[in-house]
Symmetry: D2
Subunit: 257 residues, 4 copies
Amino acid sequence: MKDIQSQNDSRKIPIDKVGIEDLIYPIRVMDRANVLQHTIAKVKLSVELPHNFRGTHMSRFVEVLNKHSNNITLHNIEDILDELKKVLKAEKSYLEFEFPYFMKKKAPVSGMESYMNYLCRFIASKGEKFDFIVEVNVPVHTLCPCSKEIADRGAHNQRAEIQIQVRTLKLVWIEELVELAEESASGPLFALLKRSDEKLITEKAFDTPRFVEDVVREVAIKLYNEPRVYWFKINVKSFESIHNHNAFASVEIDKRQ
Amino acid sequence: MKDIQSQNDSRKIPIDKVGIEDLIYPIRVMDRANVLQHTIAKVKLSVELPHNFRGTHMSRFVEVLNKHSNNITLHNIEDILDELKKVLKAEKSYLEFEFPYFMKKKAPVSGMESYMNYLCRFIASKGEKFDFIVEVNVPVHTLCPCSKEIADRGAHNQRAEIQIQVRTLKLVWIEELVELAEESASGPLFALLKRSDEKLITEKAFDTPRFVEDVVREVAIKLYNEPRVYWFKINVKSFESIHNHNAFASVEIDKRQ
Amino acid sequence: MKDIQSQNDSRKIPIDKVGIEDLIYPIRVMDRANVLQHTIAKVKLSVELPHNFRGTHMSRFVEVLNKHSNNITLHNIEDILDELKKVLKAEKSYLEFEFPYFMKKKAPVSGMESYMNYLCRFIASKGEKFDFIVEVNVPVHTLCPCSKEIADRGAHNQRAEIQIQVRTLKLVWIEELVELAEESASGPLFALLKRSDEKLITEKAFDTPRFVEDVVREVAIKLYNEPRVYWFKINVKSFESIHNHNAFASVEIDKRQ
Amino acid sequence: MKDIQSQNDSRKIPIDKVGIEDLIYPIRVMDRANVLQHTIAKVKLSVELPHNFRGTHMSRFVEVLNKHSNNITLHNIEDILDELKKVLKAEKSYLEFEFPYFMKKKAPVSGMESYMNYLCRFIASKGEKFDFIVEVNVPVHTLCPCSKEIADRGAHNQRAEIQIQVRTLKLVWIEELVELAEESASGPLFALLKRSDEKLITEKAFDTPRFVEDVVREVAIKLYNEPRVYWFKINVKSFESIHNHNAFASVEIDKRQ
């Protein structure tokens, strides 16, 4: 059968990225306890396409994924990118895995255990060099400092979300980024709380008011002081309980500059 | 050209509903002040198909919509359904319009004006009789009575959403349902608040704690006592600020029973 | 600490359903090969609340889930509902698990294997009786019979989705419903196809044109003739490639009537 | 009342962007025929915050929007950004409006008219200079050249979406970008087609097969040759009808380099 994709293309336009996305696939990711966690990823894989080829070969992306999905780790990801470059004859390859990651958490007073789910993303590419970003999305609790100050009683508070992206010199575990985010808000979230826990969490949040501006800075300071991290981007979004729109704040710092 | 849709079908299976959905279309809806409000609807239109016809004629749904989209009112909706029955030779026709509906609101102390957006739905059908449901989705503020009671200071609160569906004997305006919902929560939401407003709203919410169970009952009592409404369904969903999941409560009452 | 939820309520309004939703939780589901498949569920759990109680106890839903999430089967689900009734002192309990379910599929000519993902739902309740619905959502390929007939060459085709819900007398596996759906369309989908497969699939779809009306009837006939199924509801939605809206058709049949 | 936001901040971390997002607001946009089109925007507004201020004043974003939402044009957008800088005492301000934009289209043979909806975005900022990006998202039809070549009959085809972002020296209308996108695919989409139109469109798509790689290059050539455009980014996504994942291709070109 004719290979239309390999035909010569005369339009003189190289394509930055061509590939597949929104592929839902079962993967296993190594967690901090060195256990392979089963999860489900939304996968995006692509390569550069030189100007003289008409198309890429889409099925090869899935063939490469099939070989590696059982064990997604830092080293494995570089292997996937190398293999994509090879089988697709490309100078550069790109990869994104978006997946829920579960951590078992204990309620602070009752000690009851349950799972919390953090949406994570591995964003990587390999041209001459390997580039790797870890992203975590951490739902938290924020209580408004202005509302607390001006009101005679109470203070509005709400669910918020902290997104952290890092580039690192050495491995930083997802669990470390989640903990760092939770310590920067008015409080963490849990799937299971008893009344004794709810009392503590309510009071602690009231004692720790945080604007989105405060949260983004608290996270930034912690990442700035973490020597393994050399670049980071933080976005905090608060689902305001007195508005139907959201407040946000973002900071990006490259320590090499 | 051959009319494949009109071919005889021998499979003996009538189809309950066949039609189009997810059509995004500009419409104009009459508001309480008798002004035609420009908005954008997600439209779903369908008919019953007898067992002996192979298919319906999809383009006719859009032709009928085209004639009427400039003025969507209660009477107009029954006309659309009648026309769908006629042009598609059907015994029963169905229609859904989902659209954002804007109300100008004044902040309670500063008096500053801004627009709030409420997602609404008209759900209607006509077989022998005309059936019409109005749905409004009203974002509100809820403050947890348990958290307030057990904590020495503060109380967790969050954005919540009240969905109301009604069948009525006489016209009930969207604006009336929105106001009724907002009065049943710990407080309403606004797009624009100054500090004096935020103080009032924070204190009022603290003085009006509401579980989802409370909110759904407060709305139910109001609708029960409204003589124009003969059937209603209420769903309240609270985006809990101490959990990453939501709490909900629902009630459906048919007064004719 | 005071138990606000257990306070007496004087508003005389029983609540149909109160509970939690949008809880993301790792579960394991038994597949046809008797293997426990790891997946991730969006969970909704609720109970009836009598008029004289102010609130339910939300944390107990998660406690019950924690005990059972390792093995979700038909029997297990009835146990969860019984336990919810008991710990929440309710007359009726409700449960929904929505989860991606993976099946390994071979491409028809090359034999290459890959995973396809089908979104499934278990919808169950227990009052006096146990009610259980299995839902599968199966992406397929549809080719328009009208376009094929009237055009001199080609025919428009597109991705479509078949949703099937069944109540059964005896266990029907998810795999059986998926296969039955795929056989009712112009063709099934795959994650991985080589050129030899693509040729076969293209030609087969061209030889098997199907309106949404055809697909819904083909599925209905198969379920009608399956003695284990006593009730079913089918919805077919086609993401039309010549329109920016979708076509749909639905049928519900209760064989006991 | 105390102004907490204006407090001095000692953490030494300037914030890149702080503001509001997901605000749903009615706006009016000027179209090519110089008519103000009513639509509904999702609005994002933000400013830079110097390291020494604790917070921004969120309500002022909505106050500025209120003044200008009746007439969103290129000049107006720069005014909004200038005003945000002024009232929020910021060095740089940012704005995004995402909105459905309607164009009346005639079916190619029958001449029947209906509205097509294109999701658009204005992305702008003003520091020392004004930067303005127009984005359009155009749903189209693509037919696979490989499938056509290897199959004895038919060819798989599907809905696809072309996203174009441009920076320009002189005004380019949304309508021009939509038309340019539609001419680059296997065919355009319509809300309303009769059988004579469907015949033409089916045949034309069969005669104009296009990979995502082809589409992105066809758009790139047209934008490259358009002197008003000095920078563009194109992303094409095809909702493959034989897979449950999507194919994509993207190109970004800055002509000044």
